[in-house]
């Protein structure tokens, strides 16, 4: 493998890994935010029912 091969291998792995992590984070965040919104909504409606 030539010199540039190693360079691209390193850069490739690094930026792919960071990209994947960022996408995973986005997905986890989206799921969590949906769950939180649902919880908030259901607890708000419960409060309204009680009052």
């Amino acid at each position: 493998m030539g010199a540039w091969g190693f360079v691209f291998l390193a850069y490739g792995i690094v930026w792919c890994a960071i990209l994947i992590y960022w996408l995973t984070l986005k997905r986890r965040l989206r799921r969590a935010e949906t769950e939180l919104a649902q919880l908030r909504a259901s607890q708000e409606s419960q409060k309204n029912v009680q009052t």
Binding site: M1, A3, W4, F6, V7, L9, A10, Y11, I13, V14, A17, I18, Y21, W22, L25, K26, R28, L29, A32, E33, E35, L36, L39, R40, Q43
Partner: protein
């Protein structure tokens, strides 16, 4: 609460955009603009990744330490979230540092791995981070997990200089840092374009790190609120 999350989302957007610009600039400077090294050739360009990576890894551990100390002192959940987030991202950057170092090592030294000081130390750092994360996931009670991990974070951070010393005394085959030489000024050693490339990539990595940290932190906050609401609901 809704207003706070809106402004923080906006500022995170700016941070993300800045990080992206920094990364792209860094890529251009590192891969195209800076000249190849006189001795190492093109392979030296990996250093524009490797040096910022290891520095962000250590920054991460420092934040784990700060978060751990603050949490044990004040018992505020956000400090614990900071420590946990910094540990998670720290593992990522430490692992990447090792991979970059290994790939750089193959054409330079002929082997994918040697037990020289810096690679060994980075591997140890990875093990300590991993231990921290394992301790958290294996401890069942949330609060105990947070305290236990905080203590481990503090002990780990205090141990690192000792580990550093012992490994360095034992092994000195890794090249001395070519920038930080006490007898010469930093710019004597290195072509200015290379220094600029390194600086830009360093800033880019730090921005990227804090962007990812802020997102992971937000995830932690939301998880906390979910847990709190579930707890309230069941009681």
């Amino acid at each position: 609460m809704a207003e706070i999350s809106k402004t923080s989302v906006k500022s995170k957007g700016y941070l993300g955009a800045l990080a992206l610009i920094g990364v792209l600039l860094g890529l251009y400077w590192g891969l195209l603009h800076a000249p190849p090294d006189a001795y190492q050739g093109e392979v030296q360009r990996i250093m524009y990744l490797h040096i910022p990576s290891i520095l962000t890894a250590y920054l991460s551990f420092f934040l784990v330490f700060v978060g751990s100390c603050l949490y044990l002192w004040k018992r505020e959940k956000r400090d614990d979230i900071l420590a946990y987030s910094a540990a998670e991202i720290g593992v990522l950057f430490t692992a990447l540092t090792i991979i970059e170092g290994s790939i750089w090592g193959k054409p330079t030294w002929g082997v994918w791995w040697t037990w020289d000081a810096r690679l060994t130390l980075t591997a140890i750092l990875l093990l300590i981070f991993a231990g921290y994360l394992m301790l958290r996931s294996l401890t069942e009670d949330e609060n105990r997990a947070a305290s236990a991990a905080a203590v481990l974070g503090i002990i780990g951070f205090l141990d690192i200089p000792l580990i550093h010393m012992s490994v360095y005394w034992w092994r000195t085959l890794h090249q001395p840092p070519s920038i930080l030489r006490p007898d010469k000024a930093p710019w004597d050693n290195v072509h200015p374009a290379m220094l600029t490339a390194l600086a830009i990539n360093f800033v880019a990595f730090v921005l990227l790190y804090f962007y990812l940290l802020s997102r992971r932190f937000r995830l932690g906050e939301i998880s906390e609120e979910i847990k709190a609401r579930l707890l309230n609901r069941d009681h």
